[in-house]
């Protein structure tokens, strides 16, 4: 079977013999359907499969000529070198802020689209999802007379429904052709940012339909026989707010891909076409085989890890991301049943391929980082999802902020693995607590001091706190979950291009930790204010303001939650100019002391739709922390007082959380007093803890609290039975049932709900005070 030719018959055909067609009849039907198809959408036969393709006849022939593992290794290393070189070209020349900080990747693919090798740096998920568009191009455009695939052609796309992490990324996919046959593909993908969505920056938290998600390019031939097509380029430029960015980075990707192609050409000249093709194929197969073997090393059983996400980015809800991972011999099944339904007018839904791409990210960077970075890594793992859940969104669901669900696909695998691998004698990565998993970052847009229209984001999304390891603290602001060697950028450089200052840029927030025997890496705070611009605004796109985004591991605690804080109605630059002592900013001081007269001090959850930022108004957020590892009472007291001395934790935390007694003047630990306090704290635990069955009888309820807007299964005994909140009338009601039986879930505009509440209150007061007012609608 192949998914890239028209030989494939979609599943779902009836098994009634009377329905079977003869070959001739089937050809007529295919021809008719081909000629009368209204348009080609994402193909379920392609999009719902992540397994590597079976060997093609040509690959079989090439492999049949003999394999020399050493030669294959040499080819792989040459490709790795070329990919890293192309990566650096994109990083050095890319116009997108994301490119400058390593939010990109380059890869080589088999003819059928399986990733053979990725650049060592960059975002694994970006390239690990591109087998979908390659299969789409091969299936639909290869034999299409109006398109075709020729030497020198290059294909562009950004719509994640066709296989992309999210719509803010853009790809360039180029075929390797020999003797008229496609024998491989090379590609580059960059997080471009601006994409013409309803808000600037490419990751709109406010999108309510797929049309709000911005540019929706299915794979199109943007480069024809080496030449960039001006008509399509112009269309793309007119579709976004940053036409210069679009032009520059298409050219950058063309250049980078050309560099990879140079190495590919030389390699083929040196080793021969057959050996080259065989090496690509064998690499993919070898990785798959090795992954099966490694699964077999893990203990058989089931690990369950549920996540609860507290925001649609417009209002607070609680939606579940359920995950059960079962290992049996060399089989691994990842089952997301129990995950909440898609919400049809909120941006947080993720296409299945995007969710899976972050599973590949977890496997290749946190489970088995020594493996060649190939599609073969996810291929043997079975993934069970329900279509139209928020982790497997349908065609009509907005996906502008799909990272809300797809990052949870990463965390599901990364977190569960500590338990899956703990007892395995052979490990390929360290036991580690959960990595931070949110985009605590400012997105921005407007007119720059140089008069340009832009929309993009800060590099601080790359400053996620690392999870604690089993033998050391997590690293502060070390790297995003999706890229091991990303950069958090030079703020001063960025300030030459954008009209705002980070008045506080990288200051750690006290107690912003996942506490534990070893604590998680900390996050830092950022305070920004616009300056010297006729129009500017900020956004934030993060959940986790009421429910911690990541837990700890083996008794350690998770991260805290993160607010957005703002001071509107002031101009901090005027204030500082008059009184330089006021340049003493921290979220804690500003919000608690409210030192600026006339300021409107606000806290909110971290889903801020594009908010017009007048000159000098303050916007404040903090980057997140990784999870802690192990019991806090086992933390070395010296590490506790070191954190205390550096103001990383409060005295309250040192004493009441870690049970340490110290000399305040000298920070010398009182050893015996600490031992005694900790012993008492353990006795207190035993005293207050309730036997499990008794606890469950008191704590567990049949349903979530009535006023919680909940989505997903409740418990894990029957994950197919979902709960959801439905606005069938004016008030929300809780509905239950299997996913396919639930009504479509849409959430009313929160501002309308607020007006309703205020109007009701007005009427109540009018009645109370006997005021007669005639209300007309």
């Amino acid at each position: 079977m192949t998914l890239t030719t028209n030989e494939f018959v979609p599943t779902g055909a009836g098994d009634d013999d009377a329905q079977l067609l003869t070959d001739q009849e089937q050809q007529w039907v295919d021809k008719f359907m081909d000629e009368t198809t209204l348009f080609l959408g994402p193909d379920p036969a392609i999009m719902r499969h992540h397994q590597i393709m079976p060997r093609s006849e040509y690959e079989e022939e090439c492999i049949g000529q003999g394999i020399d593992p050493l030669e294959i290794d040499r080819i792989r290393k040459r490709l790795a070198g070329a990919l890293d070189e192309a990566f650096e070209m994109c990083e050095s020349m890319g116009a997108a802020p994301g490119a400058k900080w390593a939010d990109l990747s380059c890869a080589v693919y088999t003819a059928e689209g399986d990733v053979t090798y990725l650049s060592n740096r960059g975002v694994i998920a970006f390239s690990a999802v591109l087998h979908h568009p390659i299969r789409y191009i091969m299936k639909n455009w290869k034999d299409e007379p109006t398109v075709g695939i020729n030497e020198g052609d290059g294909f562009f796309h950004n719509d994640s429904r066709f296989g992309m992490v999210h719509n803010t990324d853009q790809s360039m996919l180029v075929p390797v052709i020999r003797g008229g046959h496609i024998i491989a593909w090379v590609g580059a993908t960059i997080h471009e940012g601006e994409n013409g969505a309803c808000e600037p920056g490419g990751m709109p938290s406010g999108s309510e339909t797929p049309f709000d998600d911005g540019l929706r390019a299915s794979p199109i031939k943007i480069v024809e026989k080496g030449h960039l097509r001006r008509d399509l380029l112009t269309f793309l430029q007119h579709s976004t707010r940053d036409p210069k960015l679009m032009l520059a980075d298409i050219k950058v990707k063309m250049g980078a891909v050309r560099r990879i192609m140079d190495t590919v050409d030389r390699l083929i000249d040196e080793v021969g076409q057959e050996t080259f093709v065989a090496s690509l194929r064998v690499t993919v197969e070898d990785v798959e085989t090795e992954v099966r073997r490694r699964i077999g090393e893990l203990p058989d059983g089931t690990v369950t890890f549920n996540q609860f996400v507290d925001s649609t980015l417009k209002e607070n809800i609680l939606i579940k991301f359920a995950c059960k991972i079962t290992i049996k011999g060399e089989r691994m099944i990842v089952d997301l049943t129990g995950t909440g339904p898609e919400i049809l007018n909120r941006a947080i839904n993720s296409p299945l391929a995007s969710t899976k791409s972050f599973m590949a990210q977890a496997i290749l960077s946190y489970w088995w980082p020594d493996l060649p970075r190939s599609t073969g890594a996810l291929s043997p793992i079975e993934v069970i999802t329900e279509e139209h859940s928020w982790a497997d969104a349908g065609y009509d669901a907005p996906v502008g902020q799909s990272l809300q669900a797809s990052f949870r696909g990463f965390s599901a695998l990364q977190t569960a693995f500590a338990k899956m691998q703990f007892s395995a004698p052979q490990k390929y990565s360290n036991v580690v607590a959960p990595w931070f998993n949110q985009i605590n970052d400012f997105l921005w847009g407007g007119t720059t001091q140089n008069g340009e229209q832009v929309g993009n984001l800060c590099a601080d999304l790359n400053g996620m706190g690392g999870g604690a390891k089993a033998f050391r603290d997590g690293e502060d602001a070390v790297a995003p979950l999706f890229c091991a060697m990303a950069d958090i950028g030079e703020q001063e450089v960025m300030e030459e291009e954008v009209p705002f200052l980070q008045l506080v840029s990288k200051r750690l927030v006290r107690d912003n930790q996942g506490f534990g025997k070893f604590r998680g890496g900390m996050g830092y705070e950022m305070i920004v204010a616009s300056r010297g611009t006729p129009s500017w605004g900020f956004m934030t796109v993060t959940s986790g303001s009421k429910f911690s985004s990541v837990p700890g591991m083996f008794g350690g605690y998770g991260c805290p939650v993160y607010p957005l804080a703002m001071v509107k109605g002031i101009n901090i630059y005027d204030i500082i100019r008059k009184d330089p002592s006021q340049f003493n900013l921290s979220m804690e001081r500003v919000m608690n002391e409210q030192p600026f007269e006339g300021g409107d001090y606000q806290s909110a959850h971290m889903g801020l739709q594009f908010d017009v930022a007048k000159e000098g108004e303050l916007y404040m957020i903090a980057q997140g922390a990784g999870g802690g590892y192990g019991d806090v009472l086992e933390r070395d007291p010296e590490l506790v007082v070191t954190d205390l001395e550096l103001d990383r934790i409060s005295a309250h935390t040192a004493r009441t959380m870690y049970g340490v007694v110290w000399e305040p003047e000298t920070y010398v630990v009182h050893g015996q007093a600490t031992i005694e306090l900790r012993a008492q704290m353990r006795r207190d635990r035993i005293s207050r803890g309730k036997p499990y069955k008794e606890f469950v009888a008191e704590f567990v309820s049949d349903e979530p609290p009535a006023d919680l807007l909940y989505f997903g299964s409740w418990g894990q005994d029957d994950d197919e039975e979902l709960l959801a909140t439905h606005w069938g009338g004016l008030e929300p009601e809780r509905v239950k049932g299997k996913l396919e039986d639930l009504p479509l879930i849409m959430i009313p505009d929160r501002r309308v709900l607020k007006i309703n509440r205020l109007e009701a209150r007005v009427r109540e007061l009018e009645e109370k005070y006997g005021e007669t007012v005639e209300h007309k609608s």
């Binding site: 058989d300 703990f422 007892s423 490990k427 927030v509 935390t653 353990r682 036997p691 919680l708 909940y710």
Partner: protein, 152 residues
């Protein structure tokens, strides 16, 4: 033969029981849910994650909202070690996070022929080498069956 399954939990393949690596407390059948042998406390998350900005003035403060989030702390009934901390919505059943195939586990370790307490570590790298043997053996005074489930 005792297999370290987490930082604080062994599975004793001879007795097929979950036991505490710190004090040898018996948490119950290794084919079942170890949490059933623990003591549990429903923590207000604000006690663990203190507010950074004033909760009297603001709704969002760095502290989780107790109406959305609780922290269930699972303790060993004998030594008081906190072996798990789970973040859950109020009223949500605690997660059965690990269920292992004991026959397969035994088969794998018997085939290897070495002692899990000696060979299991935290992964690659010199600083990940650790001692995951029973702590109660080194301090003495406990036997595997000193504390059976339900006897605390």
């Amino acid at each position: 033969m005792r297999v370290p399954m987490t930082e604080y939990l062994f599975i004793d393949l001879d007795t097929e029981r979950w036991i505490c690596r710190v004090c040898a407390h018996d948490f119950g059948d290794a084919r079942g849910n170890y949490k059933e042998g623990t003591l549990v406390h429903d923590r207000d998350p604000r006690e663990i994650h203190p507010p950074v900005i004033d909760p009297e003035k603001y709704e969002f403060t760095f502290s989780p909202d107790p109406a959305y989030c609780r922290i269930l702390e699972f303790y060993c009934p004998t030594c008081g070690t906190q072996i798990e901390a789970e973040y859950l919505p109020p009223g949500h059943p605690p997660t059965v996070d690990m269920l292992w195939d004991i026959d397969s586990l035994r088969e794998k370790w018997e085939a290897r022929g070495d002692d899990p307490e000696e060979v299991v570590n935290y992964g690659p790298g010199e600083n990940a080498v650790t001692d995951l043997s029973a702590r109660f053996d080194s301090v003495g005074g406990h036997s595997h069956s000193t504390h059976r489930e339900g006897e605390h």
